[in-house]
Symmetry: C2
Subunit: 284 residues, 2 copies
């Protein structure tokens, strides 16, 4: 196994200092494990722009709501370590829940405004859990660059704002979504899908592509774009739509007249799986 | 002037990286300026334990309540720079409000529990402003050690918890309170006191010493200690008591049966000045 496994904050601090003092650029890919090709592409991006790549693997309890899938969340550490080792990552940072949230843990990091819409509305407290854990990971791993996926667009934008607002000296890189052959975005939660749901779930990507095409062909009314996307997803027998939104890609506020940079974003439940996906569109 | 003045996040990040890469330990003393002997003793502590000392000077608007003294807060940058330069500090980090809180700033760092009592109750939002700005300063200056004063005991304890909870690799040092000859704790806000109020304000220290003596002589009932301290402060004609409390020195929760480490803490208004002071007592 080529990857070093570090399990404590103190050892990770020390390893980060050693790398930095020898002039090496540190890249961080934060994950919740059960890695798929999407994660691996983030690792590849990190390997391209930094000298030492740390992959953190931690299923972060504080970003799950009380009725969400924390206990069911898939885990396979041995497989994860082999995958990132084969790819050439240098360190796996794998802290325990007790290491991350010891008794008496009472601190939180929050980004307001950007978290009011989309998944922030659907999952109260979720982004505070994300920004808190990422602030901890940044402080522990001391990366020069951290790589996040476009699939979790709101998360990436929120983290970029946190890093800017708190003057963290970390470049936040956002890498393209990796998809299955039929367009379904890679996600650890895809394992929850039955064969039938898996088939229906391709509607997300089809809806996004249709919405994008409408805008590219001149449509400027967000409501009409949403209606067309709705008509692709809603007929799927197991689809429960959480949201279909057209928002400003920077502020994440609802876009009515479309201009500049627009994010089409969807969240849909199929049985136990809540899937999200999105696409960026440049308008005129 | 021997001290370098740095005014932007980017330049401070760079200077911090240069110091760290050459193996120098960085000390940080965060201040709101208008420096007195208390601040200077913090700088001296930092000089003792680190190689390069950064003094930040920033009157942080977000830690003042709407009816508090932000606009009146005393400022004298030239004098401050001369004082820390004479002492041998290396860098003054003096960002503008726009540099610290640019348009679209929406992130906060909060420590719950420890901020429910004492000044946290009297000044809602104050500690969130403190932890947010200190998180920013830690990320910008990248210190190995940061020095805070025991006079602001709750602030120091809250910041130590924040640093621990967020895995910040910063040692939080707490240095003893520096006092005038008659016991009044040094504070930039002492300039608000009229001559008569200045005289009355010595009651804070006398009350704390009396409370401490009672406990050292065996008193274990917090209520009795508070009553005696009250009787020293309340008779002062201009004193408006904000709180007189006896709390656990770690958790800052009210101590009823006194044991272990106890903090006696007072906050009293004299005209425009809200003064705080405290003393630590080891029980048994």
């Amino acid at each position: 196994m080529g990857v070093d496994v570090i399990r404590t904050v103190g050892e990770m601090h020390h390893a980060a200092d050693v790398m930095r003092q020898s002039g090496q650029k540190i890249g961080l890919v934060p994950t919740m494990g059960f890695l798929h090709k999407g994660h691996l592409s983030l690792v590849e991006h990190a390997l391209e722009v930094t000298d030492r790549v740390v992959v953190s693997i931690f299923v972060n309890p504080i970003q799950f709501g009380p009725s969400e899938d924390l206990d069911a969340y898939p885990r396979d550490l041995d497989r994860d370590l082999k995958l990132i080792s084969d790819l050439g990552a240098h360190i796996a940072y794998v802290p325990s829940v007790e290491e991350m949230y010891p008794e008496g843990f009472v601190t939180s990091v929050a980004v307001t405004d950007l978290t009011a819409n989309l998944c922030g509305r659907a999952r109260p407290g979720h982004f505070e859990g994300v920004t808190t854990v990422v602030a901890k990971l940044f402080a522990t791993v001391k990366p020069h660059v951290a790589v996040f996926g476009q699939k979790d667009a709101q998360q990436a934008i929120v983290i970029r704002r946190m890093a800017r607002d708190l003057n963290m000296d970390v470049g936040v890189m956002i890498a393209p979504t990796v998809r299955e052959a039929d367009g379904l975005a890679m996600s650890s939660r895809n394992v929850y899908l039955s064969a039938g749901e898996r088939q229906e779930a391709t509607a997300l990507y089809r809806a996004l592509m249709l919405g994008q095409k409408m805008i590219e062909r001149g449509e400027r009314c967000a409501q009409k774009v949403v209606a067309v996307m709705f008509d692709v997803i809603a007929p799927q027998p197991h689809a429960e739509i959480d949201y279909i939104e057209v928002v400003d890609a920077e502020q994440l506020t609802p876009a009515t007249e479309l201009s500049d940079s627009i994010l089409l974003a969807v969240a849909v439940r199929f049985g136990k799986a809540r899937l999200i996906d999105n696409t960026l569109v440049q308008v005129g």
